[in-house]
Structures are given as structure tokens and as C-alpha cells.
């Protein structure tokens, strides 16, 4: 049962007064795909979502659902379902009437409303509490009710605006898997807006990273992680974030102040060297460093150390745990684990 349709954004931009919230965005989402819009707050990801939903009118550009241009249509004529961060359930209505709301507005016959609401609610495991008001159920149940309301009219496009960020950490993980499973089973095209890179990487087929109203990179989670296009994506995707060291490439190495790292086949010129914390290690013969902070994270230990005036985050396996203030050696990885960026932050070398 594939009922999702492709969504295409062409030269989409949105201006609020003097602020350009979204700048000439081109993006294509395949039928039945789940795409995450990832970025810090104010990066334009929610604005883009609201333009797709029809709440905001784009300043320029077009939105296509399949071959149909929809950016001039009212939300009710677009066939979208949407889940909001606050869930936006109607507080005066029972969960049943909340979920039934879109159907009631379409004047669906009573018997059919009953059947479809019950079916959708059962699918989400809230079929037994439909007579309650939103305030009388838990956050997780509210979130399911909001999802049920979005799905009950069987939309072609499902929009999720930070649907998990108000949930407890524990429920959030199971809700992630649940949404992903449902979306795949129903075959609906879905767009997930989130500022949580772990959520985006875990749930999405592809992730669009936004910053300052501009699309930075649009790729699969693997590509984002292993070949970030620029320093913004490199610093935003991955936790703890990639170490980015400003310095000069010398063709056979990298220099930042006193720090000199030999790298065969390195580029030349000013730029940034990126290295993920999990790719650094402690060991004999490494660059001499002093441990500033040690943070046990359970499975791993995060160490902040200073090497020749440069602060680096190092992620160590559980067993290793240096003393705070102690002197250690930091070992840099093979060149293939290193990332090179030019002066403007763009990636150099293998794409």
C-alpha cells in the first residue's frame, strides 16, 4: 500500500519583513520517503514545513505534490497531516473527537468516522482511552493522539514538527521506532523537523541540514556523517561534535600554532582540519596533551584535552580513564578518517 507522493520544492523562499527566513530552497523528496529537516532553531526548517503545509505562503518559489502545484492552495486542499511539537490537541474535545475532527469537517458519515477513528487509534495503541480529554492522558498518549489525528484522513504527506521533543527520553526512543514503522507500513511521504541530530540520523532516509535559512547538505545519514560538505554540517551532525581545528595545510601535513600533524597527501593553504572524537586515541608517542575534563558517559568516556593550545574532544572506550590534569599523548588517525575544509569551510578532497 504505497500512497505517498513525491514532494518537490523549487526556489522556495520566505521573507518576514526584512528577515529572509528561507533562501531559495530546492529540494526533492521521493514518494514514501522519510526526510528530516535538521538544524538549530531559527534556521528556517519549521518555516519551510509550514509552507509545505500551507500555513505560510511562500514569498517566491513553488511547492509540488507529485505534478500538482499546491503553494496557492489552502491547507485543507493539500491532503497533508501534521503533528505539532505541542501536539495542539483541542483541549475541549475528547481524544475521539480530536481524532475525528478532520473527518467531521469533511462531513464523513458517523458510522465511517467511528470505524476509522477506532482503527487509527488501535493502530497507535490508544483505542481504549478515546473518551478522555487531552489533559487526562499522558504526554506519550497525547502525542499518539496527535499522530492519529494526522493519519486518520489518510494523507499523502505527513508533516512532523518536532513531534518527539516534549517526550521523556525513554518514551522518545520507542516513539522514534514507532513513527518510523508506521510511516513505512503506510507508505506515506513524511517530513520530520528536528533539532536533534541523533533523531534525524536514526529516523530519516535522507537528512536536509539547514543553517541561516539555507540548505547546507541533503544526503543520507551515512554520507552526512562520513563526508560532511562543510564545517557547519561537520560540527552539527554527530555527538559529541567533530573537532574542527583552524590552521594551515602544507601539502604534507597540517599546522595550527605549535601543533604539527603530518598528513601524506594533504592539500595546501589555510583551512580547517576536522577529526571526530571517536577517531582520536590516547597512546605512547602521541601529541603531548593535558587532560582538562573527564566526563564518564557510561559506555564511553569523553575527555577534553589541550594539545599545543588547541582543545580537542576525545571519546574513549569505557576502560580508559585518564586523571584530570594528567599528561597524555593524543594519537591522530589515518588520513582517511580526517576531514579537510578550505578557508570558507567547504570540504576539500574526496566527496
Amino acid at each position: 500500500m504505497k500512497r505517498g507522493i513525491p514532494v518537490r520544492l523549487e526556489g522556495l523562499s520566505k521573507r518576514f519583513g526584512k528577515v529572509e527566513a528561507v533562501k531559495r530552497l530546492d529540494l526533492e523528496i521521493g514518494a514514501g520517503e522519510l526526510v528530516a529537516f535538521l538544524g538549530p532553531s531559527g534556521c528556517g526548517k519549521t518555516t519551510t514545513l509550514l509552507m509545505i503545509a500551507g500555513i505560510y505562503r511562500p514569498t517566491t518559489g513553488a511547492v509540488y505534490f507529485g505534478d500538482r502545484r499546491v503553494d496557492h492552495l489552502h491547507p485543507r486542499d493539500r491532503d497533508v497531516g501534521m503533528v505539532f511539537q505541542s501536539y495542539a490537541l483541542y483541549p475541549h474535545l475528547t481524544l475521539f473527537e480530536n481524532i475525528a475532527f478532520p473527518l467531521r469537517l469533511k462531513r464523513v458519515p458517523d458510522a465511517e468516522v467511528k470505524e476509522r477513528v477506532q482503527k487509527t487509534a488501535d493502530l497507535l495503541g490508544i483505542g481504549h482511552i478515546l473518551e478522555r480529554k487531552p489533559a487526562q492522558v499522558s504526554g506519550g498518549q497525547q502525542q499518539r493522539a496527535a499522530l492519529a489525528r494526522a493519519l486518520v484522513k489518510e494523507p499523502q504527506v505527513l508533516l512532523l514538527d518536532e513531534p518527539l521533543s516534549n517526550l521523556d527520553a525513554q518514551i522518545r526512543l520507542s516513539a522514534r521506532a514507532e513513527i518510523r514503522r508506521l510511516q513505512r507500513d503506510l507508505g506515506v511521504t513524511a517530513i520530520l523537523v528536528t533539532h536533534d541530530q541523533a533523531e534525524a540520523l536514526a529516523m530519516a532516509d535522507r537528512v536536509a541540514v539547514f543553517s541561516m535559512g539555507e540548505l547546507q547538505q541533503y544526503d543520507t545519514p551515512e554520507v552526512l556523517y562520513h563526508r560532511p560538505k562543510n564545517t557547519f554540517v561537520a560540527g552539527f551532525v554527530g555527538s559529541p561534535p567533530m573537532n574542527l581545528i583552524e590552521g594551515t595545510f602544507t601539502g604534507d601535513g597540517f599546522r595550527a600554532g605549535e601543533l604539527r600533524i603530518p598528513i601524506p597527501g594533504a592539500p595546501t593553504g589555510k583551512g580547517w582540519l576536522g577529526v571526530r572524537p571517536e577517531h582520536l586515541a590516547l597512546g605512547e608517542g602521541g601529541h603531548p596533551a593535558r587532560v582538562l575534563v573527564v566526563e564518564p558517559l557510561g559506555r564511553e568516556v569523553l575527555v577534553v584535552a589541550e594539545v599545543a593550545g588547541v582543545r580537542l574532544q576525545v571519546l574513549l572506550p569505557e576502560g580508559e580513564r585518564p586523571e584530570m590534569g594528567s599528561e597524555v599523548g593524543i594519537v591522530f588517525p589515518e588520513p582517511k578518517e580526517l576531514h579537510f575544509f578550505d578557508e570558507t569551510g567547504r570540504r576539500i578532497g574526496p566527496e
Binding site: L50, A53, S86, H92, L105
Partner: protein, 297 residues
């Protein structure tokens, strides 16, 4: 002992004010209503028991005045709440830079002294060539005399609607933006959003404004006094509180009857208390009382 003393001390200023300005007048009014105090008996009033109340019931105009009061309160209330709701919805639907100045403008008559406000109405409604309404309609009439009830209700309502407008506007503004988005995505038109989402969520403010305005309209008479003074003609727009005022403080015949007026006022107090109790019940007052946010030791 200290446990009870501190809360009492905190409450005492408010308690004192309530006793002095609310409770004492009520007691005084009720006491006064059992006397025959008037201009003639001013130096030597005597207790007359329920005589004033008997006189009231025997008054052939009492029924008309009672019906006038019901008419005045019901129609003005309907206009106030309806108009307030309409204004709040309309000014919330347009951008703030238009809505806010409009609301401010609508508040002007409330800030204006009633005498000035009524003076403007009288000017508007006078005969041509002075009266604007006469000029526009092309019929020269004193519209205040021609349609006294309409004028009384409108003059009160235009001022009164601003109260509902303010309360409803802030209630509408406190509805989360996402709820409006959700309604739009669910397929609701603007009208459906208002009817199925906004209005149900305004149930409490509407009830509150209705309750509050019922009580204040029952006892308000200043605009009627200034506009028609109960006329034109014989008791056309005379309402209960105005009648009490006339009897007690401004009798046509020069003999002001404090006792009789107090009896009328006392009836109003009783009606007010009954209505308040009724509203408190539907408001579910106990549910509104929350735990104190500051602990006092």
C-alpha cells in the same frame, strides 16, 4: 496561635476595606429600610417594620419597573457580550497593527466622563440641523424621545462591549498558535475554526463576562439618569436602581424617602446575592481556588 495570627494579619487590610465599604453600607441600607426616615421625619425617625416593603408591593408601578429592569439588563447584556465577542474576533483576525488601535479607540468612551459621553449622544440624536442622525436620515426628530430604549441600550452597550472585548481578546490571544495551524491543516475554514475551536475555548470568559455584567447592570443607572432620567413620559425607562435613587435622593415632590428607597435597594442586594451564588455554582468556584503559591509561616 501564631499559625492563625500571621494569615489574619495578611488578610486584615483587605478585610477592613471590605467591611468598611461593602458590608457596612449593606447593613446600613437594610437597617434604613425598616425606618420611615424621610425629609419630614428627618429629626425623629421611627421603626416601621416591614411597612416600606408593603408599600413597595402596593406600588402600582412596581411591575412596570421590574419588567423595565429585566428588559434593560437582558438586552444590554446581550448587546455587550455579543458585540464584545464580535469585536474581539474581528480585531484578532486582522493584523495587530490595525486591531490594536481599533481596540484602543473603542475604549475611549469608557475613559470619557459619563456626562460628556451622554452629551455627545444627545447632540447626535437632536433635531436637525444640530443632530447628526436626523441629518443623515433626513427625518428631523429628537431620536432620544422617539426611541428611548434603543438609545439607552446602545449607549450602555457601546461602553460595556469594551469590557468583553478586552477579556475575549486576551483569551483568544492565549490560545496557542499551533492550535490554529492544526485546525487549518485538519481542513477547517476560518468560520469553522471560530465555531468549533475558538468559541468552545472561550466558554469560561463568556460565562465570566456575562456574570459580571449582569451584576453591574442590575445596579447601574448613571447613563439612564443622564439620558432620559427614567422618561420620556411616565416611567418609560425607569429601572429598579434608578427608582431607588429617585425615591431616596431625588424625589419629584421634594420629600425624599430614604426608608422606601433603602427598601428597594435592599431588594436589589438580595437579588444580587442570589445571582452571585448561582454564578459561583456554575463557575464551580471551589475548582478555581488553587493552592497558595507563597507559604506563610
Amino acid at each position: 496561635m501564631r499559625r492563625y495570627l500571621t494569615p489574619f494579619l495578611f488578610l486584615s487590610p483587605a478585610t477592613l476595606l471590605i467591611l468598611l465599604f461593602f458590608f457596612t453600607p449593606v447593613v446600613a441600607t437594610i437597617l434604613l429600610s425598616f425606618t420611615d426616615l424621610s425629609t419630614t421625619t428627618f429629626k425623629n425617625p421611627s421603626w416601621v417594620g416591614l411597612k416600606n416593603y408593603q408599600d413597595l408591593l402596593a406600588d402600582p408601578f412596581l411591575k412596570k419597573i421590574f419588567l423595565n429592569t429585566v428588559k434593560y439588563v437582558a438586552l444590554t447584556l446581550a448587546f455587550n457580550v455579543g458585540m464584545g465577542l464580535l469585536l474581539a474576533l474581528l480585531t484578532s483576525l486582522v493584523p495587530e497593527r490595525y486591531g490594536d488601535p481599533f481596540r484602543a479607540l473603542w475604549l475611549l468612551p469608557r475613559i470619557l466622563p459619563p456626562v460628556v459621553y451622554v452629551f455627545i449622544w444627545q447632540g447626535l440624536l437632536a433635531e436637525a440641523p444640530m443632530g447628526l442622525v436626523s441629518d443623515i436620515l433626513g427625518v428631523s426628530k429628537n431620536w432620544l424621545v422617539a426611541a428611548p430604549w434603543t438609545v439607552v441600550i446602545l449607549a450602555n452597550g457601546f461602553v460595556g462591549a469594551s469590557f468583553g472585548m478586552l477579556i475575549f481578546t486576551s483569551a483568544i490571544r492565549s490560545i496557542s498558535r499551533e492550535l490554529f495551524y492544526a485546525a487549518a491543516v485538519d481542513g477547517a475554514t476560518t468560520w469553522q475554526t471560530i465555531r468549533r475551536v475558538v468559541l468552545p475555548m472561550l466558554a469560561w470568559p463568556i460565562l465570566f463576562v456575562t456574570a459580571y455584567q449582569t451584576l453591574s447592570l442590575l445596579t447601574s443607572f448613571e447613563y439612564i439618569l443622564l439620558l432620559t432620567d427614567g422618561g420620556p413620559g411616565f416611567y418609560t425607562t425607569e429601572v429598579w436602581s434608578l427608582r431607588a435613587y429617585h425615591l431616596a435622593l431625588s424625589n419629584y415632590f421634594g420629600n425624599v424617602e430614604f426608608g422606601l428607597g433603602a427598601a428597594m435597594a435592599a431588594v436589589l442586594v438580595v437579588i444580587g446575592v442570589v445571582v452571585s451564588l448561582f454564578y459561583l455554582k456554575i463557575f464551580n468556584f471551589k475548582a478555581l481556588v488553587t493552592e497558595p503559591k507563597i507559604e506563610i509561616y
